[in-house]
């Protein structure tokens, strides 16, 4: 019940809008012009909040759902209870230590793999040296050339992003995209394109960082999924980076690119190419796309 001598409060007026007010309040409002006017203001505020929200693009929705469905395969059914998860349960999941014998087995496997990589690396170096001697090192020269639009800075290049090296399958881009390199800042997308023309940097630039923290890991995975769903002839995600272009962050992905058509031309094998796509981290809209031979 309300005291008829007390003025009506906003709480009473608001509750009346929701049919949750105490008995007698509605009658008092009807006889109080000032209260009625105030309630109209509250009603307008409620109406604005209830206004429809623009939906994301269909590709973005598909990516969100697809990423969530990935969890079906990894669900271990842990945590029984009536309460729904109050937060994404990733941080809450406890890690169990593996049994000692699996640790020992893993060490053995790692040693064997390491030795194999060292051996194959030596073989590759010899092979590469032979190739360089025969054909020159134009790619290395291009990588060293400073970019005029980025203040003379040229990021180091990870082996020219050899497209022959298999990347992460598109089905697992979500996890791979999370490891992003800080590509630095650029005045425009042309400058970014010039910086990435010869390869993808393996290390962040010494100055003019893009502030990779401006882009969340969720955005990295979501946009990777969006690009993967576009139907482009891409095979695997090779690299991910974050650049700041004209003050705005962009996510940069590099994919193996295999357009339709024969893989040989006049009996000569066509080198595999890579597709570089830079998207904004909100709507995942492409801002720069080019193919590197």
């Amino acid at each position: 019940m309300t005291d008829p001598d007390e003025p009506l409060t906003d709480e009473q007026l608001s509750a009346d809008l929701d049919d949750e007010a105490d008995p007698g309040v509605r009658e008092r409002i009807a006889s109080d012009p000032r209260a009625k006017a105030r309630q109209e203001q509250l009603r307008e505020a409620a109406r604005l909040i209830a206004a429809p929200v623009d939906s994301p693009a269909p590709a973005t929705i598909a990516a969100l759902v697809s990423r969530a469905l990935d969890e079906l395969a990894g669900d271990d059914g842990a945590g029984e209870g009536d309460e729904p998860p109050l937060a994404p349960p990733i941080p809450l999941r406890r890690r169990r230590l593996p049994p000692p014998w699996t640790v020992a087995a893993a060490v053995v496997v790692l040693v064997v793999v390491g030795l194999s990589l060292v051996w194959s690396g030596r073989t590759s170096q010899r092979h590469a040296a032979q190739q360089t001697a025969a054909s020159g090192s134009s790619a290395a020269d291009a990588a060293k050339a400073p970019s005029p639009t980025t203040g003379g800075h040229a990021p180091s290049v990870a082996g020219g992003a050899d497209p022959a090296v298999s990347g992460t399958p598109l089905s697992r881009t979500a996890t791979a995209a999370a490891a992003a390199v800080d590509l630095g800042t650029f005045t425009d997308t042309t400058a970014l394109r010039n910086a990435l023309r010869s390869g993808f940097p393996s290390a962040p630039p010494p100055a003019a960082r893009a502030d990779a923290a401006a882009v969340s890991p969720t955005a990295l995975t979501r946009c990777a999924q969006v690009v993967a769903n576009t139907g482009l002839p891409i095979d695997a995600l090779l690299h991910t980076g974050i650049a700041r272009v004209a003050g705005q962050p962009l996510i940069v992905y590099e994919y193996q690119y295999r357009p339709a058509g024969p893989s040989t031309t006049a009996g000569k094998t066509v080198a595999a190419r890579t597709l570089v796509v830079a998207v904004d981290p909100t709507a995942c809209k492409p801002r720069l796309t080019f193919v590197r031979a």
């Binding site: 003025p7 994301p56 693009a57 969890e71 502030d211 705005q248 909100t282």
Partner: protein, 179 residues
């Protein structure tokens, strides 16, 4: 629903697609910008997939999903304090027949976002769950884990603050009915 709870991928896909728009809308209103809303929506959908086998149907699925989404939004806002904002909304609103001009829509949205931003996330969540999701006070109390009286107070204070800001004529407490 049963198939989805048992891990049927197609059923889960259908379930998520039928609710993602409302979940995104809740996240968009609570977080106040597209980037955080998408991140929170993603986390909410993942949490729904993981938590659905344990959903006991005591509440409606939509109410449970709003609860998951609201918590994902509040978590996202806590994380946002550790990284800078990306900027204003990027994606273009879908044109609607007879709707106001896009410029007007964006301006109204930014105004609303700015007005909502002045509320604490907990107050924002109460108002959004009431006015956007049409939950009653008891349901909001369950979603937020607070007494129904607190829900009533938060909704009132949220609407009052919004009304004052959106009319551009903020009144002092003694000029308007007490809160």
């Amino acid at each position: 629903m049963t198939s989805a709870q048992q891990g049927d991928r197609r059923a889960m896909d259908t379930l998520l697609r039928s609710h993602q728009d409302r979940i995104y809308a809740v996240c968009r209103r609570i977080t106040g910008n597209d980037a955080d809303a998408l991140d929170a929506t993603q986390e909410a959908l993942i949490a729904i997939v993981r938590g659905l086998p344990r959903f006991d149907r005591r509440a409606r699925f939509s109410t449970w999903a709003y609860r998951v989404a609201t918590n994902a939004c509040l978590d996202e806002l806590r994380r946002r304090t550790r990284r800078p904002l990306v900027g204003l909304p990027e994606h273009e609103p879908e044109p609607r027949g007879g709707a106001p001009r896009v410029d007007d829509q964006v301006a109204a949205r930014v105004d609303l976002d700015a007005a909502l931003a002045d509320l604490t996330p907990e107050f924002r969540a109460a108002v959004v769950l009431r006015d956007l999701c049409a939950l009653d006070y008891a349901e909001i109390a369950e979603v937020l884990g607070i007494p129904a009286g607190t829900v009533r107070s938060r909704i009132s204070r949220g609407r009052s603050a919004l009304a004052d800001q959106l009319t551009g004529n903020p009144t002092t407490p003694h000029e308007r009915p007490r809160t």
